[in-house]
Amino acid sequence: MLIVVCIKQVPDTTQVQIDPVTNTLVRDGIPFIVNPYDTHALEEALRLKDRFGCKVAAISMGPPNAEGTLKKALALGVDHAILLSDRVFGGADTLATSNVLAAAIAKLHAEVGEVGLVLCGKQTIDGDTAQVGPGIASRLDYRQLTLVDKIITLDFSEKKIRVSRKLEGRHEIVEAPLPAMLTVVRELNRPRYPKVQMRLAAVEAVVEVWNNKTLQLDEQKIGLKGSPTWVSKIFSPERDKGEILGDGYADPAGTAALLIDKLMAKDMLPL
């Protein structure tokens, strides 16, 4: 049984800068990290590997430098790491991305082993759409279980999974047949830390690169051409409210008094 984890390399910063001309993220000089939600998907796959002895493949679509992200996955213990990289994959929206990822998963299913589960983070911190995971499930006709915060039972022989979904103000227990695609939230687990031996091995390990010669996808369905979504504008929200009061270090008592006055004037402190 094979578990596939989809991971993405994202820029590590809370202050994302946007190129006002092209409406895209400025990525120069910003270090990359593994999308935080994906690290929980990866961890869950590795836990299932520890429990059931199944194999884990990590796949990522991105530019050649996304290899680093897959090396991190190798250091944590995945068995296969595949980078889906080709110029024709570039500029993809969530639909085109899910086409490529689904094709890769199908290829793994055919050549490496029967895919039981696909795990994704609930969304990425750069695009925040939460559409790619469900897109993959639709393309592959897998059951989709989103926002999973706990795998309650998993039975590969019976091909059944039962999970808890974390929804607003409630949890939902859902059961589905395998294969299934799960998107996961942070509460699911606590990611492990890589062992040095594994890190060193990962440095030497080869990340397999699949391009469109490997996947043979119709160019109208991938990359910019296969993306019906067009971003017309990206901008940072202006802060139209809020101010910084006083100097909390130089005059903590005075600053607190300023704040209280302010809140009282707005009738926000019931006294």
Binding site: T13, Q15, P31, R190, P194, V196, Q197
Partner: protein, 665 residues
């Protein structure tokens, strides 16, 4: 009469065999350790050995140390007497000291007699002390009283032996007892005094009994010695010879190659010197009595760590010699022979244990080796460290703040970037000075003072990265190695030669740890630089910061104990306030840690009393208005501690802030 060589010789051979077997059994285990060069600077080593082993310099620095000094030197002197005793037992009447020339015999006999008496008094004092006020509660062991009793038996038997021989001589020669004994008292005061009482008794019986009592006690001592903690008699002297000549303030590099092991998870991962250390400990307990973790009720006890290493080595030595794996794990539940994870994580790496150890056992590096194994091989560490490790590796600061914020502290100041052609000093701000809202004030104060003194300085700005101190002390050597290599490359590329740091952790890492990477920087702590600027007249002290009131200074471990900087911060405070700071009871090399070193800054402290509270209370005894520190971690620990004890009226100030208060306000 005695001696009887036909009984004595076999017993002697048997006990020598037990002695040799015991020594072999233990000392051969040392060869299981990893190689380490401790043979550099032989001359210095020889001098250190004379000073610390034979001169007992560290031993006598504490109460009852002089008592040990007496036992040690009596033991050396009495080696002569015991050699005579053994030879006499083998070849009766052939070898006697009395056959030496009179001028040589008299002082020798006098020394032996007096040394025996002093030893007897000293072991009595030691026994009474152990009974009434032991160095630590568990020190009242049967083993300790047994060995003291054995020494006392040897002394009493030898007095009796000498006294009967004097009496027999009187009877045989027909000399006048009174005048003979009064002459004899000048040579053997104690034995001659005793002879007066023995004269009328059954001398032959007493002599035989005393002779065999002495012989048996000696055999027991010889057999027991290598199989007990008293083996330190044999190992402590070489241990002083082989001690690390540089301060043990760094950890060894690791070679990150596939197939290597990282840290120490099995006892033979330690170096041979580490293993020799374990046989050199006589469990005096001085380390645990200064250890901030032990004192505040944490499970760590440095004495027990060394003991556990020894026990583990003895238990697994045979298997390890055969190339098999250990049967009992070194890191485990904390029973005898294993060190618990909780105790491994309790260490603040303050170095007090190593400063206190009379025979230079290096406890702290051994604990860090265990941490390395836990972090690098098993990835088992307290939960709160996961974020720290990821923040350090990903964003090069402990909080995970965006590296672009590193220069925010000086956004309102005119601070120039370091340029090798035009600036003399790199001011390495450090993570606390760059990101911690309280400590940024120290960075600002220091930069203003540098400008006032006309120093040519600059910063690396956003290129500055964390020095990696915490991750190294926490055993994450892999990440430290990456960080250190990056920083060293930056320093070389930017042509940095002289560095100012305001954090003792940056200070020690840049100065000592980076040397292992071939980078020799001239690193100066800001307290040293400020002191120099005052001395050179570049900072003119025309005003003093009297509003600081009564000050008390707290030594940072990595400035003081680990790097011997004690006077500079005190002199800065004196210059800035016009009065010398008060001293806490534990100060300078005996100072008590604030609790934040060794990466403890980033960990929770749930067990026992909080270390910072203990230290804050100690500071408050001096009734200070201002507690002066020279380290950002100490500052945080003191400010937190003062809030806990509701001492809101007491301020915490860095030495640079006090200086700025005097000159810039």
């Amino acid at each position: 009469m005695t001696p009887n060589p036909s009984i004595f010789a076999p017993l002697l051979i048997a006990s020598m065999a037990v002695f040799a077997w015991g020594c072999w059994k233990r000392l051969s285990l040392i060869s299981l350790g990893q190689p380490e060069n401790r043979l550099n600077n032989i001359g210095t080593r020889f001098g250190e050995m004379l000073l610390y082993a034979f001169g007992q310099k560290r031993v006598i620095s504490k109460p009852f140390g002089f008592n040990h000094f007496i036992i040690f030197w009596s033991f050396l002197i009495l080696m002569v007497a015991n050699t005579e005793f053994i030879l006499n037992g083998l070849f009766p009447q052939t070898i006697k000291l009395i056959k030496l020339p009179f001028e040589l015999y008299v002082p020798l006999a006098f020394m032996i007699d007096v040394a025996s008496m002093l030893a007897l008094i000293a072991v009595t004092v030691a026994a009474v002390r152990r009974l009434l006020s032991p160095p630590y509660p568990e020190a009242r062991t049967l083993e300790a009283f047994f060995i003291l009793g054995l020494i006392a038996t040897l002394m009493l038997a030898s007095f009796t032996l000498n006294a009967t021989e004097l009496s027999v001589f009187i009877l045989k020669s027909g000399a006048d007892p009174a005048s003979f004994l009064s002459e004899a008292r000048k040579v053997m005061p104690v034995s001659a005094l005793l002879a007066g009482f023995l004269l009328p008794l059954q001398l032959a019986v007493i002599h035989t009994a005393a002779w065999w009592a002495h012989a048996l006690a000696l055999f027991a001592f010889i057999c027991y010695l290598p199989n007990s903690k008293h083996m330190h008699i044999l190992t402590a002297i070489p241990n002083c010879f082989f001690h690390r000549l540089e301060k043990p303030n760094t950890q060894p590099l690791e070679n990150f190659t596939i197939g290597n092991s990282f840290g120490v998870g099995q006892v033979d991962g330690y170096s041979w010197k580490d293993l020799l250390d374990s046989f050199s400990c006589t469990e005096c307990g001085r380390c645990q009595n200064v250890c901030p973790a032990s004192i505040t009720g944490k499970p760590l006890n440095p004495r027990a760590v060394i003991h556990d290493i020894k026990i583990n080595l003895l238990e697994n030595g045979a298997a390890l010699k055969k190339g098999e794996l250990s049967k009992t794990s070194l890191i485990g539940e904390g029973g005898e022979g294993s060190v618990s994870e909780e105790s491994i994580w309790s260490c603040t790496t303050c170095g007090a244990c190593m400063e206190a150890c009379p025979v230079f056992i290096e406890q702290m590096p051994k604990i860090i080796q265990l941490r390395r194994h836990l972090v690098e091989t098993e990835t088992k560490f307290p939960d709160e460290l996961l974020n720290l490790f990821e923040n350090m590796e990903g964003r090069s600061n402990p909080w995970g703040i965006a590296p672009s914020e590193r220069t925010k502290w000086c956004s309102q100041l005119d601070v120039k970037p370091f340029d090798k052609d035009t600036t003399e000093y790199l001011f390495y701000i450090g993570c606390a000075g760059s990101f911690d809202s309280r400590n940024k004030h120290v960075s600002v104060a220091m930069s203003q003072l540098l400008d006032k003194a006309g120093i040519s300085w600059g910063i690396l700005g956003k290129e500055e990265k964390c020095c990696g101190d915490s991750v190294r002390r926490l055993g994450n050597e892999y990440v430290f190695d990456k960080m250190a290599r990056e920083n060293v490359a930056t320093f070389i590329e930017r042509g940095v030669k002289k560095v100012i740091t305001q954090c003792p952790h940056c200070f020690t890492t840049l100065k000592n740890d980076y040397r292992q990477y071939g980078l020799e920087l001239e690193v100066i702590h800001h307290s040293e630089l400020l002191r120099n600027l005052v001395q050179d007249g570049r900072l003119v002290m025309d005003k003093t910061a009297q509003e600081m009131g009564t000050t008390v200074f707290h030594d940072s471990c990595y400035l003081g104990r680990h790097n011997d900087v004690y006077d500079a911060p005190r002199e800065v405070i004196t210059a800035a306030t016009g009065t010398t700071p008060a001293e806490m009871d534990r100060n300078r090399n005996n100072a008590f840690c604030c609790g934040a070193g060794g990466g403890r800054m980033w960990m929770e402290e749930h067990v026992g009393e909080r270390i910072n509270l203990t230290r804050v209370k100690e500071a408050l005894v001096q009734k200070p208005d201002t507690i002066c520190v020279a380290c950002p971690y100490c500052m945080t620990m003191f400010e937190d501690g003062l809030k806990d004890v509701k001492a809101d009226n007491v301020k915490v100030r860095d030495v640079a802030e006090i200086m700025a208060e005097a000159l810039l306000r």
